[in-house]
Symmetry: C2
């Protein structure tokens, strides 16, 4: 059985972003690039090229089916009829662009060229394939019992998380671990278990297929991809590039209004974000997401920001999603307390905690409209872009951060 059995086995944000891209920027040529951020791991030594191609070819052959489109049409948790008929029709006819895979120096280069509106759906399946094939490689030399012991370790680590969370009933969270999961089967088990064991704290999953399968809330709003895409479209001047950041917020609000109004805050560094989001936006938007840097420092900044804007932070939602572990979740929750609403988007360490080191794999929009894109974030280990572009964007966005901390996940 192939790893990816449905295009629905993807993060829900691909559809929320996908609709905006389809509607506003349907014809922008882009390049998505696969990257392995984990140093010292040469993926081609772990993953067989033929198998990899077979899995990618399988994804290339997939189409959205009627049930999946019905499910999206019926999604009303973030506003009624949030997905328009033209977009659903577009999805029904969608054929992913081809992939370009090369092997050199023990590593794989994997790129996707095409229209933004079409190529965007490659991100998650590509990550699912790399993650699962790599983990299969780790399991292969083990005996049947040693594999049992790996799953037993995963089960007991999950049990420990559940036990700790039962003691902290104010903590809610959702699964953001599709892209880094140990395997499709393991993520399925984790989600099913959390839904039963922590029904009042586990809010849902970013995985659309699993949300549908288990009757859970599909979760996700937008990603760095929107900022990167817009920076290629609004590129005529430094001012346009600078303005592209707020344009993401404006496009989003126009499409979804309050229902999905949560945004990342770190794309060009959170210092810039807290200058750029207007008090009017701050008042309207539901909340903010933290995805790099120090989460406690960020929470301080966010609370101060809301106060400056004359907003009671208790009415706003802070979402934390940067390399979470149970200990950091507890620390952050204790810090935020009742100062604001809070929740957690728990990724790698939720769906890939069986004793092996998880890889930090990403697929990023590295070219938009013919231009190189940039991500700065609050941790320069997560920065992306050519040195020249990064330098220019730091200047444009007044970036002064210096934190560099290797990504554990």
């Amino acid at each position: 059985m192939p790893i990816v059995q449905s295009l629905f086995d993807t993060d829900f944000y691909k559809f929320t972003m996908g609709q905006v891209i389809f509607k506003e920027y349907p014809d922008v040529p882009v390049k998505f690039v696969f990257k392995n951020r984990t140093k010292g791991i040469r993926l081609a030594e772990h993953i067989n090229e033929e198998e990899l191609r077979r899995e990618l070819d399988n994804v290339y052959s997939l189409r959205f089916n009627k049930t999946e489109l019905h499910y999206l049409r019926g999604t009303n948790e973030y506003g009624s009829r949030m997905f328009s008929e033209p977009y659903l029709e577009f999805l029904g006819n969608l054929q992913l662009p081809p992939y370009e895979l090369k092997k050199h120096n023990g590593n794989y280069s994997l790129e996707f060229f095409g229209l933004w509106s079409e190529a965007t759906y490659w991100e998650i399946p590509a990550l699912e394939i790399f993650s699962e094939l790599y983990n299969r490689g780790l399991m292969e030399p083990l005996s049947e019992f040693e594999r049992d012991a790996i799953y037993a370790t995963g089960t007991l680590r999950l049990a420990k998380k559940i036990k700790i969370l039962r003691q902290k009933r104010d903590i809610t969270f959702c699964d953001f671990g599709t892209r880094r999961r140990f395997s499709k089967k393991w993520q399925d088990y984790v989600i099913k278990t959390l839904a039963k064991e922590l029904p009042n704290q586990f809010l849902g999953t970013s995985n659309t297929y699993l949300a549908m399968k288990y009757g859970l809330l599909p979760m996700g709003t937008s990603a760095h991809e929107m900022y990167m895409g817009l920076s290629g479209i609004m590129r005529d001047s430094d001012e346009e590039i600078r303005a592209s950041h707020n344009k993401v917020l404006q496009d989003w609000w126009k499409q979804y209004g309050w229902g999905l109004s949560i945004t990342l805050t770190d794309h060009y560094g959170s210092d810039f974000f807290f200058q750029d989001m207007t008090p009017k936006q701050a008042r309207k938007w539901k909340g903010l997401r933290q995805d790099s840097g120090d989460p406690i420092e960020w929470a301080k900044k966010a609370l101060a920001f809301y106060k400056r804007c004359g907003v009671n932070p208790k009415e706003k939602l802070l979402i934390f999603s940067d390399g979470l572990e149970i200990e950091s979740i507890i620390d952050i929750a204790n810090y935020v307390g009742n100062a604001a609403k809070k929740t957690f988007g728990w990724g790698t360490n939720l769906t890939n905690d069986l004793g092996f080191k998880a890889l930090s794999l990403i697929v990023k929009l590295m070219q938009s409209n013919g231009y190189g894109t940039v991500k700065l974030s609050d941790n320069l280990a997560k920065a992306l872009g050519t040195p020249e572009d990064v330098k220019r964007f730091k200047r444009i966005f007044g970036y002064t951060g210096s934190m560099y901390k290797e990504c554990k996940y």
Copy 2:
């Protein structure tokens, strides 16, 4: 599915003892009694009477089948054709005697009356049923995931044992855990795993069914039951009772010779044993088994005994089987070193180590030929018999031991 699906799901010693009983003492009336040695546990609060009766009724309906008799006929590891045709024919026609179950004060009383040669086969199935029903009761209130976590705990504890044993390649052992297993399924898993993971150290299992299923060595010689049975048959005087101990050794040697010549040493205390076994027997017999008291003290006594008898202990086998855990196995192995051959009969803690406290359940031959029987052993917590009989037997066997240590298993 019933817990006991075959009369072969029993300890191999039932057949080695069974043949001697069948041949030498076919018509002795006896009583076997079920006892729960674990204080504070009232079994009727954990085990439903109807279910218990259903399981016991099922065992009552079982018969040995052709394949099982073929397997016994073909057993040649302890001497060729060790099971005679008359005995195999007897087994083929065997119908267990009925059981007598009563409930009082939250406990069960379970007794088996009949001929020794027939009632003896109730011991292990009765223990299997109590152990598994009790453990089912512990699992019942748990969620599906909490049950997964119990099995995961068992898997990781087994993995730890295997890891430690891989570092101690001179340690061999076998499974004696049928009577106390968590469940039939779990013992099956443990045995299958050990056979694959430690093929040179895991020598076999006392469980005849699993030995047959996995092509392993069926293991077991004789038990306290022989001494208890003989004490009722040779009862005319203190001298006869005293002589009944060595009669067990004589009967055994007559039937099996060197191949199965390993005996328990603690029935009336090991001090008596090391006076009673003659130097001639010591020279001929393959080895000795320790089942109560301090194993290191016992090893000292056994080594000294062999030296007194002019026997090189390096040619003899010491088997340890009293409530073993990985730590005590290592300690004993380190102490014995190369002074003698050594191996371990690992019971409860091998097949029932999933996080729950295991019970100390036994079925013992408490009456033989109309007389109450006695077990003293090297730990008075394991002693059995009426106070009067125990007092008399202590005198007869010159028992001076005073160790009393609650049985963990």
